[in-house]
Symmetry: C2
Subunit: 465 residues, 2 copies
């Protein structure tokens, strides 16, 4: 019976155990074999059981040449949803590989919010070329959505909404839903609106089905109700869905009137993207995907490495002040990277915790000083632990108590500085409106390097010379 | 009319603009004022409009002393959901601060899957103390869930399910739903089962409401249908929801029989936790939260810093081999940190991209060699760019063409190594079943440090001596 439906697992074509949902290499090999032999029937048969998201993943994992041939061979079977699921960096390439009428048909199948997502990054002429294939109502919907700011709720929402006046009862609502033919594809709530079209509550379909016909909708409203301003940033939309466990939420304009609805699956996709962005930004990778070319990728990563070079030069300038000391005690040059490395890592620990806590709104004016104090004390404790360890190693390695003492003190200073800078830098950047994930790393490492080298080499100059 | 419902925004008590959904400091101040004055009525009034998730956030942001007083003053108003929303590190503390009958009442209000989440990390006696307050049916449900492995679908699912036999029509289904009194609190699909209780399809409530009574359920099934094995890891569950845009999915035992259902809000929470874990692990913070004490936090972070110390010592041993060269050319000591820093950062860029691509199952056997080649070529391109830059700086700074040449070559070697190691290390760790987010950083930095110093100082010894 599962053949009737597009069932995805359990399916022998997919690995199980550790690799649940990972496409088995043999599926991809079989597909590439069909492409190689230009066997359109075999290709269609292999692709038939696959979800659009998995087909998109396959297109992302094969090389450009195979991708182009696959798209052309698959031809009229090509579903609009595959385009939606495809990584943005590949969409243009795949759209260009499709025959115009196949592309037109694929786009026509999509919901208006998916079309928005598809065309928003295209140039004006390409956008036009796609929109002209849509039916008038859909085209207008897409164009209106594009009028809202990028990454706003207005871009994310769907305009088809199931709603009911606030004086209706369950029976009226059910009759309306049964008759209506412009309901959203998927919906989970009926939004109750007042006479001025302002949403005043949500009723779940489950409650409607479980209630008698004469029960008033306003008596079975959900406890938690959340409206989303149409200009709100999509990151905040995702936060609201996650924080308040929303399934769908009405979107309102500046007069609080209903203009659309956002559902949790869209919010989940945004949450996923925002996390991806944060994790990559923390590592100095601001954008990009696995399918970007070598030169694109090199160009994307260059700026952050360049900033890092500058900060590394600053650290070198500090070292240069102590050339005389190093010349006499080469052991200092041997130990220097340890000081820098420990400070950098402790700083990264603190700053990652701080950046995450800022993103989840857990680090606020109410606890910021307590958190800074805690991180400094954590740095002090671990600094003392590593001072003993590394001081001992220094003494044993180089046979000099003074050297051991110098590296021990430097360790404490550097780890306390790492805790302080690791917390304060992201907090200050956030206050200034700069994304702390993007810029904190460089600043914190500069601070720990400069102060770490200064403490280590400065103290060495005083103690050893 | 919005007063009727627990509406969260727009609300003057919350900041708007940038700080949507961030609790305004003045709300927290007012609450602390009420606590300070032991004003129970004022506290209840201030807390009334707040969502349980926001109350949990407030408890997380205030200090231990205030938290204890707040919990005790709030007393009988204390809702079970606040416990569910609370950070795990604080739950035990808050539960101990509650009077036993208040705690009992709070837990009784919760759905069984939330109770599971609440008690799964407690000791046996504490678990018992809470479970004994539950009604028999709920207690059994919780105990059965606890019999499934930790972090499995069985722990995540709710057992109350809306289901219908596969021969029913819409009318029969609606009548059943209207009569049934053990339906889940929230549900979005009716799961169609065969006579052996195996789920064979999902029907959305929207389709049921929009269809005539005589339409067969099997004719209005959803296209996409996904069952989840009860022992599946929750990380894979979250992946499936995100990949296939599921709203709810039936959970099945090893005989494919229906045992429960997972909804997207739970999957979204797991996705959020997994991201959090990945981002913290990449930074060498394996666990912990803002509310942990100083000594707990120091202890959690110590092991990773210790591993880092070991790898830094390995790098130092490399440097120690070239003491003679450094003694003659102190400029090398000055430039060393630049080599290490650039290699470390380029390596982090590559490894973060690889770790993310592994987590999203985008990096597979089909494209791994292409990705490794790409990263090596990106390293080569940027290595050449920084070789020119840094070579020039070396010549200008120290007036030595040979030194400029040495650092230029070291830069190219180090960035290519960073690209290779940054991709290969996580891929190999993943193959070995080790979480690449946890361990890659240390390995990659060790490789870039050791090879970077070796290339730089080794070449210097040959060229300059």
């Amino acid at each position: 019976m599962s053949q009737d439906t597009n069932k995805i697992t359990p399916d022998p074509d997919f690995d199980t155990d550790d690799n649940a949902y990972k496409l088995a290499p043999k599926v991809i090999s079989a597909i590439l074999y069909a492409v190689e032999n230009q066997d359109q029937a075999l290709l269609a048969e292999l692709m038939e059981p696959l979800h659009a998201a998995d087909i998109a993943d396959i297109l992302e994992q094969i090389n450009t040449f195979d991708r182009r041939r696959l798209v052309q061979l698959y031809d009229r079977e090509f579903d609009g949803e595959i385009l939606s699921e495809l990584d943005e960096s590949l969409r243009e390439e795949v759209m260009l590989a499709l025959k115009p009428h196949v592309l037109a048909e694929a786009v026509r199948e999509l919901e208006s919010d998916d079309v928005v997502d598809l065309v928003e990054d295209l140039d004006e002429p390409q956008q036009e070329a796609i929109l002209e294939h849509l039916e008038d109502a859909d085209r207008v919907a897409v164009e209106q959505a594009l009028a809202y700011p990028e990454e706003s709720a207005g871009r994310l929402m769907q305009r088809a909404v199931a709603m009911a006046p606030d004086h209706w009862n369950v029976g009226q609502c059910i009759d309306y839903l049964r008759k209506s033919d412009d309901l959203p594809e998927q919906f989970y709530h009926v939004i109750m609106v007042d006479p001025r079209m302002r949403p005043v509550g949500n009723v779940t379909l489950g409650r409607i089905m479980g209630s008698r016909r004469d029960v008033l909708l306003k008596d079975i409203l959900e406890d938690v109700f959340q409206t989303i301003p149409v200009t709100q940033d999509e990151e905040d939309v995702a936060y609201a869905f996650n924080q308040y466990h929303l399934i769908s939420a009405p979107v309102v304009d500046e007069d609080d009137r209903l203009v659309g609805v956002i559902t949790i699956d869209d919010a989940m996709a945004v949450l996923d993207e925002e996390h991806e962005e944060d994790i990559l930004r923390l590592a100095g990778v601001s954008e990009g995907s696995l399918t970007d070319t070598v030169s694109e990728t090199a160009r994307q990563r260059f700026p952050w490495l360049a900033v890092n070079l500058l900060t590394a030069i600053v650290a070198s300038l500090v070292i240069a002040q102590f050339e005389v000391t190093i010349e006499k005690f080469v052991a200092l040059a041997v130990l220097m990277p340890i000081v820098a490395s420990m400070g950098g890592n402790a700083g990264t620990q603190s700053l990652t915790v701080a950046v995450r806590a800022l993103a989840t709104k857990d680090l606020t004016g109410s606890n910021v000083w307590r958190v800074i104090r805690r991180e400094a004390l954590v740095g002090l404790l671990n600094g003392l632990a590593f001072a003993i360890l590394m001081g001992g190693i220094g003494v044993l390695w180089f046979g000099s108590f003074q050297l051991g003492y110098v590296i021990a003190v430097a360790m404490v200073v550097n780890l306390v500085v790492a805790g302080l800078a690791g917390t304060m830098v992201p907090v200050v950047l956030d206050k200034l409106g700069v994304d702390p994930a993007l810029a904190s790393g460089t600043f914190v490492t500069t601070v720990t390097d400069v102060l770490g080298f200064f403490a280590f080499l400065g103290l060495a100059t005083i103690v050893l010379l």
